[in-house]
């Protein structure tokens, strides 16, 4: 498995993860991921046929409530931590030409 972590895989995963890795970081990532996955492959020793995957320890159901506003309008406080705002909206670079 570890052999599969080549530079292309690292590049592809960094696109999914929205990370820009330097050449050195890419090499380190390939090495670290390879080593971790080799270790994780231990799980393959276990026969899990017929075992249902469990994501939460308790059965989790949607929690519904009436569609009424319970929180206050704290737009200004919320936006205080934003890097850039304009007219009460978050400011980002142009996304469509």
């Amino acid at each position: 498995m570890a052999g599969q972590i080549d530079r292309e895989t690292v590049e592809y995963i960094s696109i999914l993860a929205k990370l820009e890795l330097s050449g050195e970081e890419q090499l380190a990532a390939a090495r670290d991921m390879g080593r971790m996955l080799e270790y994780i492959d231990k799980l393959k020793e276990l026969d899990t046929d017929g075992v249902e995957p469990v994501s939460h320890v308790f059965p989790v159901y949607n929690v519904f409530r009436e569609d009424t506003v319970t929180n206050q309008d704290i737009r200004e406080e919320l936006q205080k931590s934003a890097p850039a705002c304009k007219d009460g909206a978050y400011k980002v670079p142009r996304t469509v030409e």
């Binding site: 995957p53 931590s81 934003a82």
Partner: protein
């Protein structure tokens, strides 16, 4: 009795009796921080004026008999991944370096309602990813017992603050052992509650299906008091559980005669330090002499817990940390061309190496082609781990074992080999995977003068039984490390 020697509950009692004021307690903690934290670095943020203002307000309420609980006026520290309204919350990351939350976590709100005075925000591994508090963007925290050693992690700041006597107690968070392991390394008591017991509202998520907030304190009684204050059913957390009881203190002191204690042989084998093994066996013997029935048994699945954990925790982390993109809060890179470039540069500059490592691994195991082989496989293994514990709790009330394979390692020895560091979580991660409550209680010192922690694990929702057993174990083996060594305090820190 000096304030240094008081537990939170003892201090709270004296505050109620009018012997000490909340203002004096806060002044004491702030002076202690000033004296010790230059070396320990347990805190990222302390706003003295705010602390004193809160302490004065709390004292007035105490005098008007509006606050009568055990935590009223007690100075507490809060881990920096738990939101505090108006007080910077960084997750020990550059990417949240200037984040001031507009609201408080439910657990913080409840602590404040109980009259606790928040001293500040404690250091941690960045986004709680690490076992040493060395991945913080705000410098490492040092172990108060020996400053050449790490305090453990990720709640290393909270545990070191309590161990150094800077805070009387603290909140931490535990995703794979992040309360219990540093408690063990720092000679304090730390509890990870049953999943769903403390609201995660306002806890900055790492692995949402595993994360729980819990107390770090000088003894079991304090842990029980804090848990009682912060636990609740909260509609704002979709995974919050409505428990039958939120009483964690009234059972303390009851005996453990006839209690069945299981000692997993899988936790005592290869990889466990001899001195830690001896401490566990001494703890077992102490419980036996109190009338408990203690026996070794094969728990099973122990060796699969870490690989399953790192798949699940990293997968959830990669998804949870997608929100840090330089738009709504936190750091944004200075130069960029277009939106995607801004996202990528912001994240690459804002996150440290360990966080990136886990985001990469998590993105990989969730990616098309690998999802079934890794992520779903790990979730199936999680089901098997839960089953192993369910079987164990048919025979035993409580499981006893080590909290960590060794005492605190030296600073600088862990990060170079991440896999080796991850293996140090072997006795703690399965408790998170199975959603169980676990507590680390000081169980003596090793030959180098570093604390050793004993871990007790209970079945889901059995905190009452867990705390009862922990209380008796603490009484039998000595408990709070600092008390025993108080004479050496000045040499130590």
């Amino acid at each position: 009795m000096e304030m240094f020697d008081m537990t939170a509950a003892e201090l709270g009692k004296r505050i109620q009796a009018g012997e000490i004021t909340a203002v004096e307690a806060a002044e004491y903690s702030l002076s202690r921080i000033k004296e010790k934290d230059g070396q320990i670095n347990a805190f990222i943020t302390v706003e003295e004026e705010k602390v004193m203002e809160n302490a004065r307000r709390v004292q007035q309420k105490i005098e008007r008999r509006e606050l009568t609980g055990p935590l009223a006026g007690v100075p507490v520290a809060v881990k920096d991944n738990i939101c505090t309204e108006g007080l910077r919350t960084t997750c020990a990351s550059r990417i949240l370096g200037n984040f001031v939350p507009p609201y408080s976590a439910e657990a913080v709100k409840r602590l404040e309602e109980a009259g606790a005075v928040i001293l500040g925000k404690t250091n941690m591994d960045e986004f709680a990813m690490g076992s040493t508090t060395e991945t913080s963007a705000y410098g490492i925290t040092r172990n108060p017992w020996n400053t050449d050693h790490v305090p453990g992690g990720s709640s290393g700041g909270s545990c070191a603050a309590v161990a150094a006597g800077e805070a009387f107690c603290a909140l931490g968070s535990d995703t794979g052992g992040s309360i219990r392991q540093p408690s063990s390394f720092c000679g304090v008591t730390g509890l990870k509650p049953t999943y769903g017991t403390v609201s995660r509202y306002g806890l900055i998520a790492y692995g949402s299906s595993l994360d729980q907030i819990g107390p770090v304190a000088k003894d079991v009684t304090d842990c029980a008091c804090i848990l009682e204050a912060v636990s609740s059913y909260d509609r704002k957390d979709g995974t919050s559980v409505k428990r039958e009881s939120y009483d964690f203190t009234s059972g303390l002191g009851r005996d453990i005669k006839g209690m069945r204690i299981g000692l997993p042989s899988d936790y005592l084998g290869e990889g466990l330090d001899d001195e830690v093994r001896k401490a566990v066996m001494d703890g077992a013997e102490a419980m036996r002499s109190l009338g408990a029935i203690v026996e070794e048994f094969p728990l099973g699945m122990a060796e699969y817990a870490i690989p399953a954990y790192y798949v699940i925790a990293s997968a959830e982390a990669s998804s949870n940390l997608a929100r840090f993109d330089g738009v709504k809060y936190g750091y944004r890179t200075e130069e960029y061309e277009g939106l995607h470039d801004m996202y990528k540069k912001t994240r690459s500059e804002g996150f440290g190496p360990e966080v990136k490592r886990r985001i990469m691994l998590g993105s990989f195991v969730l990616s098309s082609g690998y999802y079934d082989a890794y992520y779903l496989k790990a979730l199936r293994v999680k089901a098997l781990i839960m089953k192993a514990f369910d079987e164990a709790f048919k025979k035993y009330d409580i499981i006893l074992g080590p909290a960590a394979p060794s005492a605190a390692p030296e600073i600088g020895c862990s990060l170079a080999d991440p896999l080796k560091m991850y293996l140090g979580d072997i006795y703690t991660v399965s408790v998170n995977l199975a959603g169980l409550p676990g507590i680390s209680v000081p169980g003596g010192m090793n030959s180098k003068g570093l604390p050793i922690g004993l871990q007790l694990i209970g079945d889901r929702f059995q905190e009452e039984k867990l705390l009862r057993a922990a209380y008796q174990l603490e009484k039998a083996v000595g408990g709070y490390g600092i008390k025993k060594e108080e004479a050496h305090d000045e040499q130590r820190i």
